[in-house]
Symmetry: C2
Subunit: 240 residues, 2 copies
Amino acid sequence: MSMNHTVRSYDTELKYLKARITEMGNHAVGMIERSVASIVCSDLQLATAVIADDLFLDEAERDIDEKAITIICKRQPMAVDLREIIGAIRISSDLERIGDMAKNIAKRTVALSQTHQSAAFYHGLETITALALSQLKEVLNAYKSRLLERVDAVRERDGKIDALYTSLFRELLTYMMEDMRNITVCTHLLFCLKNIERIGDHVTNIAEMLHYIITGYHMSSERPRDDLTYKVGVGEKKID
Amino acid sequence: MSMNHTVRSYDTELKYLKARITEMGNHAVGMIERSVASIVCSDLQLATAVIADDLFLDEAERDIDEKAITIICKRQPMAVDLREIIGAIRISSDLERIGDMAKNIAKRTVALSQTHQSAAFYHGLETITALALSQLKEVLNAYKSRLLERVDAVRERDGKIDALYTSLFRELLTYMMEDMRNITVCTHLLFCLKNIERIGDHVTNIAEMLHYIITGYHMSSERPRDDLTYKVGVGEKKID
């Protein structure tokens, strides 16, 4: 009876961590959507709300850390349970950083709103954001379903975000070269795109951690992720 | 006797974590120095070496994680020891990311080396790097000395890096506007500067974690750190 009770409350603790992670994930999705909307619609009020919203993720990360350590000390979990708990610590850290990226984007709303760009100007940002969001939602689903093939597929697809980022990077450079009045606005937009590209990297980190939780093995360190723009402006020379 | 032995080997385990963190810190310092040198001297071989060097930090972080969890499970530490161990996990993660920033900088050597800039062009990058390096070295010293006033001073000083970053950001925008042939090279340099600014943020994270290890209290979330360039290009309007 007492044993059952112990097992049941341990189970409740693990479920709490999982629910908290899912909650953080949904919050991060909302922050990304609204940060890009604040840019596209020049909505300063929305931008301010997104920036304030980041506090939720900071606090949730700290809460998960504390709970996870308490569980480890109390239960001394082994194998898969230990991976689950360590995984929660790691994944919450990536989700917190994704929130930081959304906050960074929202902060650029002031500078970008002054330039009165047409909505078409932000088409590339919206496209790459949609791609990153679908990846984030997919990895959050996989966190629930624990389907390994879906986890691995998320990691494989990060290359698409990087390829699109590189092409948008090149496009913005040409806008800047065409008209020097575009330089400031394009520079701010470049940093927004870079933040989305980094969100893709954090999603990849989460997928890799999930793979480890499920299988007990780390994925090979060769990953498709990479920002390839560092080569832009040069010929065929390659460095990696 | 057996008790003494247990205490002694516990002590050895904690010392191991501390030594590993110091080792990671020194490695990160070297990577930053060499990544900026590879840019300034257009040294592709050095850049390649820095990129390969990042593996050391990835592996050290994983090693610290595994050792820390083993210690927590075996010793069930309380209070200051638990903070020390959790702190090692967090600080190693920041040091690993600092290595990523240095790797990002080194990767831009190819693109920048093609443009044959004079060494003077990189003066700003070298100045902000020197500032970030002195902060990183200071926080690594404080990790050893545990002098709270020095820890807190590191966090206070991060504002200097941000201010310099903002001024260099503005300067690069004017170069781009003066001559469109500068656009690509200045964009790459902007991302290098941003990486240094982010190293400053990671150093601040480490200082805050050290404050927590020493005192048991988290610093207030108001921190002087911030990239202020998101306001560049606008008038007096402010968003935070």
